[in-house]
């Protein structure tokens, strides 16, 4: 359990590494995030840090949110996100978390909403193969049979069908940070991350299954 950072996807580019190989990278404008609340076992039952990120016009923030932000000396932040931590020692209300928390070579998990694809058919949504487009076929992109006959007489739950696709949160795990630009608040990450440019991302140190806490 460690603190991550919130960021905005800027888009993809490429980066020449030491060997001169061109590597596809995603640029993320991350932080600086303000620490808007500290939760501790004594008051909340668990330890956590709440971070705020993103500019927003002051009139778009309602009074309860303004009151909450005033405790850390902030006026208007678009996003708030909580990170569970082992202890909140050394963290200060109103302090900030920036890209300096990360270093090149570190592995991170990046979460965000995927691109929304609307109501999609089976080919796009589940990778079904389509029928023949010609030779008298009318079965172009149809679903085909969705089950047996009188027995069982119903469609099994979980049957893959057309429907809303995308716009869901997923996590791309184990991405390597290639570069940290402190001046511009940039993280350069190898590979792709969820969502379109401008999407909100949650970047945190990679959580490997079986790894000891704190690693």
């Amino acid at each position: 359990m460690s603190i991550g950072i919130l960021g905005k996807k800027l888009g993809m580019s490429q980066f020449f590494n030491d060997e001169g190989k061109s590597i596809p990278v995603t640029l993320i404008e991350a932080g600086p995030c303000r620490i808007t609340q500290l939760k501790s076992t004594s008051t909340d039952g668990y330890n956590a840090v709440q971070l705020g990120f993103g500019d927003i016009r002051e009139k778009l923030v309602n009074k309860p949110a303004k009151g909450h932000l005033a405790k850390s000396g902030d006026e208007a932040l678009r996003h708030l996100k909580e990170y569970r931590v082992d202890s909140v020692d050394g963290l200060e209300l109103g302090g900030s978390i920036s890209v300096t928390a990360f270093e090149p070579g570190q592995k991170v998990d990046v979460s965000g909403d995927t691109m929304g694809r609307g109501f999609s058919g089976l080919q796009k949504r589940h990778g079904f193969s389509r029928g023949p487009m010609t030779h008298g076929s009318k079965n172009h992109r149809e679903p085909g049979s969705i089950g047996a006959g009188t027995t069982p007489g119903r469609v099994y739950p979980g049957k893959r069908m057309a429907g809303r696709y995308g716009g869901k949160q997923i996590t791309t795990r184990g991405l390597v940070i290639l570069k940290v630009d402190v001046e511009r608040n940039l993280l350069v990450v190898k590979g792709s991350v969820p969502g379109k440019p401008g999407a909100l991302l949650n970047i945190r140190p990679a959580n490997r299954v079986g790894a000891k806490a704190g690693n």
Binding site: L10, G11, Q14, E19, G20, L27, G52, D55
Partner: protein, 160 residues
Amino acid sequence: MATESTENQAVDQVVDATVSTAAPAATAVQEKPAAAKAKTGKLSAQELIRAFEAEQLKDELPDIYVGDTVKVGVRIREGNKERVQPYEGVVIAKRHGGLNETITVRRIFQGIGVERVFMLHSPQVASVNVERRGKVRRAKLFYLRDRVGKATRVKQRFDR
């Protein structure tokens, strides 16, 4: 020629933009990061990406045209030693632009046609020298693949 000059201008603008906004942004961060930054006008996503790519662009590349004969110095690592190997041939295609710009260089080696694609801005390409300007009427010289011997010659031009 025209595309080269506009690209250079674009890069210059980005550099100017970073210089002008860097100073106020740096002071603002110390006082109040969230509120003050909104007013100082941050760089847009496109500008940030362009600035990131501008750092990697080479600025001393010569003007290369399709049809030119070029000598490309390729960095090769053998164990711990690094040396530059020259590769000479005719540019038969140029693709992409900016950081992703590539040239395809064709030469006949031991009777067999060899084509190599070089990313111009890659550190693996140590140098590019134009040996001879060619006069051609196509943007892609793929027709050279079907020709042998004397027919593969490209007419020289002297006005570049």
